[in-house]
Amino acid sequence: MATTHETTSHEEFKKHLGKYYVVFVALLCLTAITVGVSYLHLNRPLAITVALIIACVKAGMVAAVFMHLLDERKVIYAVLILTVAFFFLVLFLPMFTIVEGSTV
């Protein structure tokens, strides 16, 4: 959006800077939380779930705000949807080949 709306005044633009600082602080807090939770030594499935949820929230904030995905054009979303689909394919397809009791 920022590249296409050059008429935005400097003062108006400065207001947008606030959200960068909010995300920055939130990312630091979530990092502290994810480290703190790891010291609780939860059982492994729960620990993995919690850590991945926090990581996804952090990644989402970086992508949405720092990478300006919130107000990006459709073509970028199209590229990303395809990428995410293939990412999950590459992530989960090998899981089907794992036979019970096999080792790599």
Partner: protein
């Protein structure tokens, strides 16, 4: 000189500033996003390999104990904060250009590069400590995964330092002639840098904490 060639106009890369009529964005931005898509697949393939190796291992890490006991969590936590900070300085360098403030841009981009070096120095200490213990990538699957993923990520940090240093020095001359195009370059370099941060956000918990 570009003006000397009758074909110069054809050789220019179109839509560096004004959006392409089909995509609605400048070509450079589409290019960097396509590149990042390929990067997702590169890291995705390695991450998938990690998941397969780990889920089929009788115990993880193979030598016993916990990942958090083998790797240095405090150092990695500091490094996470360093990368997150470098992400905001990167976005502020772009924002400074949007507000026509070149000195501020230099300050923020310089800070981003400095923080990237801090990340690498901390990583260097982590690596050398492992080497002193004789723990090389060949030690076991845990160290193979650890060194491959953090090593590839480290190479990306170095790549970011090279690009950002160019944009801070010789590359910044473009600001005088084509300020909007230069601002877009910083935005694109930023997209790459935030991606490097994003990869670390997943690597840190999955390698160090779980």
């Amino acid at each position: 000189m570009a003006e000397a060639s009758p074909y110069a106009a054809d050789a220019l890369i179109p839509h560096t500033v004004e959006p392409h009529p089909v995509t609605g964005i400048p070509n450079g931005k589409l290019g960097i996003w396509l590149f990042l898509a390929s990067e997702v697949m590169l890291f995705g393939a390695l991450f998938s390999t990690y998941v397969v190796i780990r889920t089929t291992a009788p115990h993880w890490p193979p030598e016993g104990g916990l990942s958090s006991e083998i790797l240095n969590v405090p150092l990695a936590t500091v490094n996470t904060a360093v990368l997150i900070t470098s992400s905001i300085t990167m976005v502020l360098s772009w924002a400074s250009l949007k507000m026509q403030n070149l000195p501020r841009f230099r300050l923020w981009l310089g800070s981003t590069i400095a923080l990237a070096f801090v990340f690498l120095v901390i990583k260097y200490f982590e690596y050398t400590h492992k080497f002193e213990l004789g723990h090389y990538p060949s030690h076991d699957n845990f160290y193979a995964v650890y060194f491959t993923l953090t090593g590839l990520h480290g190479v990306h940090v170095i790549g970011g330092i090279i690009v950002n240093t160019f944009l801070l020095t010789a590359g910044s001359r473009m600001w005088a002639t084509e300020p909007e195009r230069f601002t877009n370059r910083i935005e694109n370099a930023g997209l790459y840098w935030h991606f490097v941060d994003l990869v670390w956000i997943f690597l840190f918990p999955s390698l160090y904490l779980l």
